[in-house]
Amino acid sequence: MRPPLRKRGFCHVFGDDIPLDEGIMPFRFAIGRVTDPKELIPHLFAAIDAAFPQRVRHGDLILAGRNFACGKAHMQGFIAMEALGIGVLCGSMPYKAHRGAVGRGVPILTGCSGIGEFAATGDEIEVDFSTGEASNITRGTARRFPPIPEILGDIVARGGLKGSLAAWLAEHPEMRAPIAAQE
């Protein structure tokens, strides 16, 4: 059974070209290689929306335009998003940022056009990432966006790369034994 990839939460709407460094997360945390979500969460999106850290709730959704998470593909922002159970719907994302976010277990829909018309900050929405179906509960409207590719959906549902590797090992217990010990 495929685990469900559905989220219901309040949305926070941002524009185009939101940078990873100094947009999603201050650059100093990337340089300092900070990976503790507790340290990172109070700074998430604060550079472009000072009230965000106070406003955000677990399971919320980020709606953004084109080129979301641009610049050097530092992962600190996605570490914070994963810890907060945040999902992302955006127009587009640079490849490395998208790949990194998937690896960290952040559910993302890319190729979402007209996101600004679909919802405003504060609206409550529900998104099924595996089908691309999204409904704006506050407004009583619905949209269909391109779904997350099946393979990526599986990785995200398992919590990213590490979770996927652990799951794979559980399905292939023979990989636990060194070769020499067995043969």
Partner: protein
């Protein structure tokens, strides 16, 4: 249904599918998996930490030693010991220790380990070099651990930009010059495409006459802007006539003039005149984009019978053991040493983080390195320019950055 591009065809074969569309995500089956000496320990630690006692398909795994070949610290000696232990524990199929092979983006092509048409995974981004012979090596960085553990990792099918080459080079122009210009044009959006996870596919009438070293120079120089890959497709995987490209770029080779990449990245291309006269302290020819035999033969043509300027230290780093042997046999090593240059062992040379022959604060370098971002080979306060082997050789002789055509004209 539109035709397929080369990369669509190559990934389809590796994924066991009849055809693939751009954007589809697949788990392709690699023929080889290449890791360099800088990442073996980390991969082992991570997988052991997760409980993996073995890796999938160890017979396909290749360990290369090119980043630190002449251990400069106790840590490097220790790393070497660990790599040997890990190669044994995992029973990797191809282990190239210190002094064996050389640069992992070059010797596998020279010795026929990486072959035309092959699909493989690698750790390092400059594995795009293999596109020179029509092999497709997807660089996965840290996700190479997933490949080691499970045999594959997710790959989205990239879109393609076609670059058609025609015309003939003028003397003094080189593949690196065009590579820098392409990187700059893509980065600036000159052709309406940025290259982000797109494949640069070379074609056109002039391609057949390009040496492997020139193809490597082209593949290498556009890599850093974030392309998915670079390909000179072999006949079996040529794009269909109706394949869809993001852009088609036509280049007349006769318009290419010597370039430098200003400090900051290979995409900072400018005509040599933009930096001409800049005094230098350090020069080197080598690293994965410019260390095949032809690169050194071109440089030797400029340096023969001349001396490296006083105050300039110059390093020559053959990419592979085989190239080093050829340079010695053909007398080209002699040309470089008579000029006052230092021959370094095969591998990455200074480009691998300045572990060898680094730059000091406020020093200026011109080299054929793969990239020249801040601190790439030494001090953050140094300035590193890039140029072709010809431009680097001429500049080392002059003691300042010069257009190599000035010296070629004097020959």
């Amino acid at each position: 249904m539109a035709g397929q591009t080369s990369v669509q065809k190559m990934l389809a074969r590796a994924a066991g599918k009849a055809r693939l569309e751009v954007g589809e995500v697949v788990y392709p089956d690699p023929e080889l998996v290449i890791l360099h000496d800088g990442y073996v320990e980390t991969a082992y630690r991570e997988l052991s930490g997760l409980g993996f006692g073995r890796i999938k398909n160890p017979e396909r795994v290749v360990f290369v030693t090119d980043h630190e070949v002449a251990y400069g610290s106790p840590r490097a000696i220790d790393r070497g010991l660990n790599i040997r232990r890990i190669a044994k524990a995992w029973q990797v199929g191809h282990f190239f220790d210190v002094g064996r092979g050389g640069h992992g983006h070059l010797f596998p092509m020279e010795m026929g380990l990486v072959r035309p048409g092959m699909f493989l995974f690698a750790y390092d981004m400059h594995a795009t070099n293999f596109g020179a012979i029509g092999a497709l090596a997807m660089a996965m960085s840290t996700e190479i651990t997933t490949v080691l553990a499970t045999g594959s990792v997710w790959v989205p099918v990239p879109a393609t930009i076609r670059v058609n080459l025609h015309g003939a080079w003028h003397a003094g122009a080189h593949g690196r010059d065009l590579g820098f210009l392409l990187a700059a044009g893509l980065k600036s959006g000159r052709w309406g495409v940025g290259g982000d996870y797109q494949v640069i596919e070379f074609g056109g009438a002039a391609v057949a006459g390009l040496a492997t070293a020139t193809r490597v120079a082209l593949c290498n120089s556009v890599t850093e802007i974030g392309v998915a890959n670079v390909l000179f497709p072999i006949a079996e995987f040529q794009s269909d006539a109706d394949a869809r490209y993001e852009a088609i770029i036509d280049i007349d080779l006769s318009t290419i003039e010597p370039q430098v990449a200003l400090p900051g990245g290979p995409e900072n291309a400018a005509p040599v005149s933009a930096a001409a006269g800049q005094r230098i302290d350090h020069a080197f020819i080598g690293a994965c984009g410019s260390s095949m035999y032809d690169d050194f033969a071109a440089a030797a043509g400029v340096m023969r019978g001349r001396r490296v300027a006083d105050g300039v230290r110059m390093f020559v780093v053959p990419g592979t053991v085989e190239t080093a042997q050829r340079l010695a046999t053909d007398g080209l090593s002699q040309v470089f040493m008579q000029a006052g240059a230092v021959m370094l062992p095969p591998g990455c040379g200074p480009c691998a983080g300045g572990l060898m022959a680094p730059l000091g604060p406020n020093e200026v370098s011109i080299s054929t390195a793969a990239t020249n971002h801040v601190g790439r080979f030494g001090s953050n306060e140094a300035k590193a320019y890039l140029g072709s082997p010809l431009t680097v050789a001429a500049s080392a002789i002059a003691g300042r950055i010069v257009d190599p055509r000035e010296m070629l004209a004097e020959l």
